[in-house]
Amino acid sequence: MSHGNMNLTLKIWRQKSDKEKGKLVTYPVQDISPDMSFLEMFDVLNEQLITKGEEPIAFDHDCREGICGMCSMFINGRPHGPKRGVTTCQLHMRSFKNGDTIVVEPWRAAAFPVIKDLTVDRSAFDRIISKGGFISVNTGNAQDANNIPIPKTDADAAFNAAACIGCGACVATCKNSSAMLFVSAKISQLALLPQGKVEATARVKNMVAQMDEEGFGNCTNTGACEIECPKGISLENIARMNREFYVANIKS
C-alpha cells in the first residue's frame, strides 16, 4: 500500500459527539513515507481502521493545499504542528522521525465546540464577519476600478491582512482563546483601503461586540497567535484594530 519506512505511534482524540466525553486513543501506523502529507498519513490510518471494522476518524479538510482553512489539527501541542507557516494539510511526514509519538487533538476553545473527533464548530467566525466584515456596496453600484488609485504599499498591506484563511489556529493556541488576530486581520484589510473607510467606525464596534458575545477571551499580548498563524498574519493588525476601536469610541 504505502511505501515508506517510518513507524509511528499516534495518540488521537476520539469523541463521539459534543454530548459525550472524549479520550486519547493510541494507534500504531507503519510504512509511512516521508513524502506523504500529514492528512495522507491519516488516510492510511483510516483505511486500516475501515479494514478492521472500526469507525474512521472524522477530521475537517478540503483543499489540501493550505488555502481553504478547513484543516485544523492540534499536533503535539501546536496548531498545525511543528512547522511554521504551514497548515496541517501542508505538513509533510518528513517533518517527523521514525519512532515518533504524535498526539493529535482538536482545536480547544469554548467558542469552538467539538462536533466529533477532530472536527470543531467554527461558525462563530462567520457570525463575526456578518456584523461588519464587508463593504456595503450592492452589485451594480461600482465605479470604474481605476478611479481611485490605491498606493501599492497600502494595497499590499491590505492583501497581507486579507490572506487570513479563517482556520482558527490563533484561537486554538491562545491561552485566553482570543480571536483578536482573526478579527483584526479583516478590520485592517478594510481600514487600509479607501473603500473601507466609510464604515470603519461601525465595523470595528460591531465586530468586536460580536467577538465578545461568542465567548472568545481577551488579548493579553502573548503573541502566540502570530507565531502559530500559518499565513503570517502580523500582530500589527491587532495594534491597528485597537487604534480603530479607540477612535471609534471617541467619535461616538
Partner: protein, 659 residues
C-alpha cells in the same frame, strides 16, 4: 424536433444582451419578498448570486457542504481573472476577449453566451474592487495585469497567487452582509441530495444536515445549482477533496440534460504524482508560464541533473513547435505536448513522467532590470541573482513555497518538475441563455454548467464566468421566470413530491449501510480514477473507451455489493458523504466515456487519437460535430443524445493554430 431551445435573443450579437436587459420582465419589490430562491453552493457563482438576489429583495437560502461558505473550492484558484478593461492599452476589447474565448474553446461554445460574458467582464473588476478585494497594483496605484495562455494581450487581474481566495472572500463578505441583515439564511455543512419537481417545475431540494445526519426538505420558487465541477471523477485532480457531482447528477436524473460531459481540462503545470498514497494533485498556476520556460533534454533518457544540462542540449519544445505563442499556448496544447515528450522517452525526474519549468532566464532578466532601476551599473552575478529572485518572489512567492513544501526542492535553484493533471470540467448541466436547465425553475451557474468554455477553457476565465453568472446574468434572467411565478404560493414541504424525494434519498443511504462489504469507498474511487485517466484522459480512442465503459459498469456493480460504510447515518459521517459522491461518479464516468466515444473528432481538451493532423495536432470535424451534446437520462444508465447545433454568425470558424 429538438427538445433544446437555447433561447438566444434575436438581433446583432453586440446588442443581444443590452436589448434583453431592457426588455426582460421585472418583478416588483413587494412580490420579490414572497419569492424564495434556493442557491446550492457558495463558491464564486453561488455566493455572488445569493448576495445579489438578496440585495434585490428575494428571500434566499444558500447551501454548502463545508463548515463555512468561505471555504468553497473557488478559494483555491491561483492565477487570475480575465477582464476586457484594456488598462494596458494593448489592443484589448470586448470583441477580442470574446474571440479568444471562442477560439480557445475550439469553436464548441455558443457565441451569444460568450459575447455576454466578455461584455460584463469589466463590471466584475469594478464590483470586486468596490467590495474591498485587494487586487495587485502598480506603483502608480493602478491595477496590474499579467498574461495567460491563449491570448496576446495582458488582461488578467490577480492577487499574488491567491486570486480565487481574494475574490471569494469578497463575494463571501457580501453574502455574510446579507446573512447579517437576515435576507439570506446560510446552511453550511448541508449536502443537497436531490431536487424536488412538482408539476414539471423544480420546487425545492432535499438536503442532509451533515452534523445531525437528518434529511431536510426545502422549498424554493427557483433553485440555482452553483455546485462546481466534477474533476474528482478522476480521483486525483487539483480539485478539493469534497468537490463532487452529486447535485448536478441528481438533477440530471430528474430531467436536466448533461452537456458535453467528456470535455475535461487537463492542466499542463501540476506537481507530479509522488506515490500511491497521493490524495490530490497541486496546481502550479498558469501564470508561471509568463516567466517560466518549459523544456526537456534533447537526449532521450538523459539522467543528468537539470543544472548539468547545457543550454544547447535543452529542447524548449513549446517555443520550438509554437513560435507565435511559445510557452503561452492554451492548456490543452501544452498538456498534450508534455505527454508527447514523456511518452517518447524524454521525460525527467524519477518517474520520467515530468518536464521542467525553468525560471533561470526570468531571474536573470528581472535581475538586470532591477539593478538598473536601483542605479547599480556593474552588478555582481550574486547581486543579479538576488534581485531577480526578489522580483520572482514578489510575483509568485506563495507558489514557490508551496512547491518546496510538497517536493522538498527549492525552485529558485532547480527548475520545477511538472506534469499535466485533471483540473476543470467544461462539461456540465446544459443551460439556455437564461442559465436555466431543461427543468423549468432549475438553473446552473459557474463550473456546474456547460456553457461558455467550449471544449477548452482559457486560463483565468472560470473565475470570470462564475462571477459573471452570479453578479450580472442571473439577477436579470431569473426575472424572466419568476415574474410569472408571483402568484405561486410557497408550497408546503408536506407535499407528496417532497415526501417521496426524501424517502428516495433515505433509501440510498440505507442501501449503502446495508451492504456491509469489505472495501473502503476510496478503494473504488481510486479504481474509477485510474480507468478514467488511462482511457478517458488526455488521449482517447474507440477501443479504450469501450473497454472503460465495460470496466466502469463492472466496478459499479462491485461497489454496490462490496463497499463498507461504517458508523451510523445519524451523525457526522464523512465516509457516508464520500460513498454517496462516489456512487454518483460511478454513473457519471460511464456517461463521460459514452460522450467521448460519440464524439469521434478531436477538439480542445478532447483528443481522439483517430482524429489528428499529420503533425499530431487535434483535428476537428466541423461538418459532423459542431454541436453541443446534451444527454438525457432515460433511467438505468441509459442515455439519449440531443444536439444543439452551434451557429457561428460572427466568427469565421477555422482550424485553430498557435504556430
Amino acid at each position: 424536433m429538438s427538445k433544446l431551445d437555447s433561447k438566444i435573443p434575436e438581433g446583432a450579437l453586440e446588442q443581444k444582451w443590452e436589448k434583453y436587459k431592457s426588455s426582460v420582465a421585472l418583478v416588483n419589490p413587494a412580490n420579490k419578498r414572497s419569492l424564495e430562491v434556493l442557491v446550492v453552493g457558495s463558491g464564486l457563482a453561488g455566493a455572488s448570486a445569493a448576495a445579489t438576489l438578496a440585495e434585490m429583495g428575494y428571500k434566499v437560502k444558500c447551501f454548502c457542504f463545508q463548515d463555512s461558505a468561505r471555504r468553497a473550492h473557488s478559494i483555491a484558484a491561483q492565477g487570475g481573472i480575465n477582464a476586457a478593461k484594456n488598462y494596458q492599452n494593448d489592443g484589448d476589447s470586448t470583441y477580442r476577449l470574446f474571440y479568444d474565448t471562442i477560439k480557445g474553446g475550439d469553436y464548441r461554445a455558443r457565441e451569444a453566451n460568450v459575447y455576454r460574458l466578455a461584455s460584463v467582464s469589466a463590471n466584475i473588476i469594478d464590483q470586486c474592487v468596490a467590495s474591498g478585494v485587494p487586487l495587485a497594483r502598480e506603483y502608480g496605484g493602478m491595477l496590474s495585469n499579467r498574461s495567460f495562455g491563449g491570448t496576446q494581450v495582458q488582461r488578467t487581474f490577480y492577487a499574488a497567487g491567491q486570486t480565487g481566495q481574494q475574490l471569494l472572500l469578497g463575494a463571501y463578505s457580501g453574502l455574510q452582509r446579507q446573512v447579517g441583515l437576515g435576507t439570506v439564511e446560510m446552511m453550511s455543512r448541508h449536502e443537497m441530495l436531490d431536487i424536488v419537481n412538482i408539476d414539471g417545475k423544480c420546487r425545492g431540494i432535499i438536503a442532509r444536515d451533515l452534523i445531525s445526519g437528518k434529511l431536510e426538505r426545502h422549498f424554493g420558487h427557483a433553485v440555482l445549482l452553483c455546485t462546481g465541477g466534477y474533476g474528482n471523477v478522476f480521483y486525483l485532480s487539483t480539485n478539493a477533496m469534497g468537490s463532487n457531482v452529486t447535485a448536478a447528477w441528481k438533477a440530471h436524473k430528474k430531467g436536466a440534460f448533461f452537456g458535453n460531459p467528456c470535455f475535461t481540462q487537463i492542466h499542463p503545470t501540476c506537481i507530479p504524482v509522488s506515490g500511491d498514497h497521493q490524495s490530490k494533485l497541486t496546481l502550479m498556476s498558469e501564470s508561471l508560464r509568463n516567466d517560466g520556460r518549459i523544456w526537456v533534454p534533447k537526449k532521450q533518457g538523459d539522467t543528468r541533473k537539470a543544472n548539468e544540462i547545457p543550454e544547447e542540449e535543452r529542447d524548449y519544445y513549446l517555443e520550438r513547435r509554437y513560435p507565435a505563442f511559445g510557452n503561452l499556448v492554451p492548456r490543452d496544447v501544452a498538456s498534450r505536448a508534455a505527454k508527447e515528450r514523456c511518452d517518447a522517452g524524454y521525460g525527467v525526474g524519477t518517474s520520467k513522467m515530468a518536464v521542467y519549468l525553468d525560471f533561470k532566464s526570468a531571474i536573470a532578466r528581472y535581475g538586470h532590470t532591477k539593478a538598473v532601476t536601483q542605479g547599480i551599473h556593474n552588478p555582481t552575478a550574486e547581486q543579479l541573482k538576488d534581485f531577480g529572485k526578489q522580483v520572482v518572489e514578489e510575483k509568485y512567492g506563495n507558489l514557490f513555497e508551496m512547491y518546496e513544501q510538497i517536493t522538498g526542492e527549492n525552485p529558485y535553484q532547480l527548475p520545477m518538475r511538472i506534469y499535466p493533471a485533471v483540473h476543470y470540467t467544461m462539461g456540465g448541466l446544459w443551460v439556455d441563455y437564461n442559465l436555466m436547465t431543461t427543468v423549468p425553475g432549475l438553473y446552473a451557474l459557474g463550473e456546474a454548467n456547460f456553457s461558455d468554455h467550449g471544449a477548452n477553457r482559457l486560463g483565468a476565465s472560470a473565475l470570470m464566468q462564475g462571477l459573471a453568472d452570479g453578479y450580472f446574468v442571473i439577477p436579470y434572467t431569473i426575472g424572466a421566470y419568476l415574474s410569472k411565478e408571483i402568484s405561486t404560493k410557497a408550497i408546503s414541504t408536506d407535499h407528496e413530491a417532497f415526501v417521496k424525494a426524501e424517502k428516495d434519498a433515505q433509501a440510498i443511504i440505507d442501501r449503502l449501510f446495508a451492504i456491509k462489504g469489505t472495501k473502503s469507498v476510496d478503494h473504488f474511487h481510486k479504481k474509477l480514477g485510474k480507468i478514467m485517466w488511462d482511457k478517458c484522459g488526455m488521449a482517447r480512442n474507440e477501443k479504450g473507451l469501450k473497454e472503460a465503459i465495460a470496466e466502469i459498469r463492472a466496478l459499479r456493480d462491485e461497489f454496490w455489493k462490496d463497499v463498507r460504510v461504517l458508523g451510523s447515518p445519524n451523525e457526522l459521517n464523512p465516509e457516508l458523504e464520500k460513498a454517496g459522491r462516489v456512487a454518483d461518479f460511478l454513473e457519471l464516468g460511464e456517461l463521460m466515456c459514452i460522450d467521448a466515444l460519440n464524439r469521434s473528432e478531436s477538439c480542445g481538451g478532447h483528443f481522439r487519437e483517430e482524429s489528428q493532423t499529420e503533425e499530431g495536432e487535434a483535428l476537428r470535424k466541423d461538418d459532423e460535430f459542431a454541436y453541443v451534446a446534451a444527454w438525457e437520462n432515460k433511467g438505468d444508465n441509459n442515455y439519449e443524445i440531443h444536439k444543439e447545433e452551434l451557429k457561428f454568425e460572427v466568427i469565421k470558424i477555422s482550424q485553430r493554430s498557435y504556430k
